[in-house]
């Protein structure tokens, strides 16, 4: 039986083979406050194919996230107080991958509803304390203070964003016992939120406690409100005070200053402590 052989020509389909991307280079890992995650920044490889997506993978946990062509990749769902490193790979639309290069440096996410922004502890007397470049990723701010001033019957004022115009008001409920009084101040050049006794009234070890909440501080459609809770006790007396304050401005709060020199030339004494926190929505 004869077997005939027949050759045929097969035309290849019009398939475009994509180049495999080379490994991107990780340039840093940073906390992303608003996303409660970690930003893994990278630089795409200068050679090789073009990646459609970049995929970051955590170690431990193999938690993954992607970005569509741009740096960074934001990885969420991480566990607080755990040390993570990350790798990044590029991927084409057909699934070809670059493989991974070196892992990033380690980062320990510690996200919570309330996070410390910064603390200032005075090493010498100071007439004012300023917090500037305040991060905008929170909903509210809380300022916690333990302080003393150098002058009897002195207080301090708070000004936002360096505004010294008459754009502030304050209402108060306070007592030094037995009287309970309420007052208001309008069209002020700052919010008067403290009223302290100096060391001459009591032991120099006595400090006042003060907690100030600044609400919705980044909202650009609202004037800015705060509430403060202040108290001090000494050997034969004391004072407790609740205040509400208003800054008539819709600007986002990016800085504020506590000015003790506003009244009677006072200053904050050494050892006074000012801690600023961000509170998430």
């Amino acid at each position: 039986m004869a077997i005939s052989s027949k050759s045929s020509k097969v035309s290849s389909p019009n398939v475009r083979i994509q180049d495999v991307p080379n490994v991107p280079t990780i340039t840093g890992v940073t906390a992303n406050i608003a996303a409660a995650g970690v930003d893994v920044a990278f630089t795409p490889a200068a050679t090789g194919g073009r990646a459609a997506v970049y995929r970051a993978v955590s170690n431990p946990g193999s938690i993954q996230a992607i970005s569509y062509g741009t740096s960074p990749v934001t990885v969420t769902g991480l566990t607080n107080n755990t040390s993570y490193t990350f790798t990044v790979q590029g991927e084409t639309s057909t699934g070809a991958t670059s493989g991974t290069g070196s892992a990033s440096g380690a980062i320990i996410p510690t996200f919570g509803s309330m996070e410390l922004i910064s603390t200032q502890i005075l090493s010498a007397t100071a007439s004012s304390v300023t917090f500037s470049a305040i991060p905008q990723g929170y909903k509210h701010l809380q300022l916690r203070i333990a302080y003393q001033q150098t002058t009897n019957d002195s207080d301090f004022i708070l000004r936002f964003n360096g505004d010294s115009g008459t754009n502030y008001s304050r209402h108060s409920l306070e007592s030094n016992s037995p009287s309970v009084v309420s007052g208001n101040l309008t069209s002020q050049t700052g919010i008067e939120v403290g009223y302290n006794y100096s060391a001459s009234y009591f032991s120099t070890s006595s400090f006042a406690g003060h907690i100030i909440d600044i609400l919705d501080y980044t909202n650009t459609s609202k004037n800015k409100a705060l509430k403060s809770f202040y108290g001090i006790a000494y050997s034969s007396g004391g004072k407790v005070s609740l205040n509400s304050g208003l800054w008539v401005s819709t600007a986002a709060v990016t800085s504020f200053t506590l000015n003790a020199n506003y009244y009677l030339g006072s200053s904050f004494v050494a050892g006074s402590r000012f801690s600023l926190y961000g509170v998430k929505a």
């Binding site: 906390a31 406050i33 607080n80 107080n81 510690t110 996200f111 919570g112 509803s113 309330m114 996070e115 410390l116 922004i117 603390t119 991060p135 916690r144 203070i145 333990a146 409920l173 306070e174 007592s175 030094n176 016992s177 037995p178 009287s179 309970v180 032991s203 070890s205 006595s206 400090f207 006042a208 406690g209 907690i211 809770f229 202040y230 108290g231 001090i232 006790a233 000494y234 050997s235 034969s236 007396g237 004391g238 004072k239 407790v240 609740l242 050892g271 402590r273 801690s275 926190y277 961000g278």
Partner: protein, 165 residues
């Protein structure tokens, strides 16, 4: 960014107790924040705080503003062996479920007396704000909450948080 507030310990009473103590408090935070929610068995009861077991008259002074829905008043408590919570204005404080948030500022500082800020309210009739001081430069390592002439009822809760700075 560092997480600022961390739960150190909590206690929920399974039965009545005259006091609750948090001991071996770490000195690694800047402030303490104590939340008490519960009821005191005596209608006229309140509570007071004791630090490091110190029952000398070194809790001078605390100033209180209280309102009971009709009147507002202020009290001055002189040197005493504990820091008072709300007194109870014209009616008893402890008989209704109440909540108290207590800030202990710079509790581990050894160069300061310890300022205390407290807000209190109960479900029936009293709201109060209180400023107090423990006249000691010792770091606070234990904290006792004592019911006055009475007991905390079962189910009362006590949550102690640390705040870093």
């Amino acid at each position: 960014m560092a997480q600022a507030m961390t739960l150190i310990s909590s206690q929920t009473l399974g039965s009545t107790a005259s006091s609750v103590t948090f001991s071996s408090i770490p000195g690694t935070y800047r402030d303490l924040f104590l939340v008490v929610s519960g009821t005191i068995s005596s209608g006229t009861g309140s509570f007071y705080l004791i630090f490091n077991g110190d029952m000398t008259n070194s809790y001078s002074t605390n100033v209180t503003i209280e309102g009971n829905g009709t009147t507002a008043a202020s009290y001055l408590q002189g040197a005493w062996f504990g820091m008072w919570g709300p007194y109870g204005n014209t009616t008893a404080f402890g008989s209704s479920n109440s909540i108290h948030s207590i800030n202990l500022m710079d509790y581990s500082a050894t160069d300061k007396y310890k300022p205390v800020l407290m807000k209190s309210g109960n479900s029936a009739n009293v709201a109060a704000v209180i400023a107090g001081r423990w006249a000691s430069t010792a770091a606070i390592t234990s904290l006792g909450v004592y019911a006055t002439s009475s007991t905390f009822t079962a189910g009362s809760t006590f949550y102690l948080y640390g705040i870093v700075a």
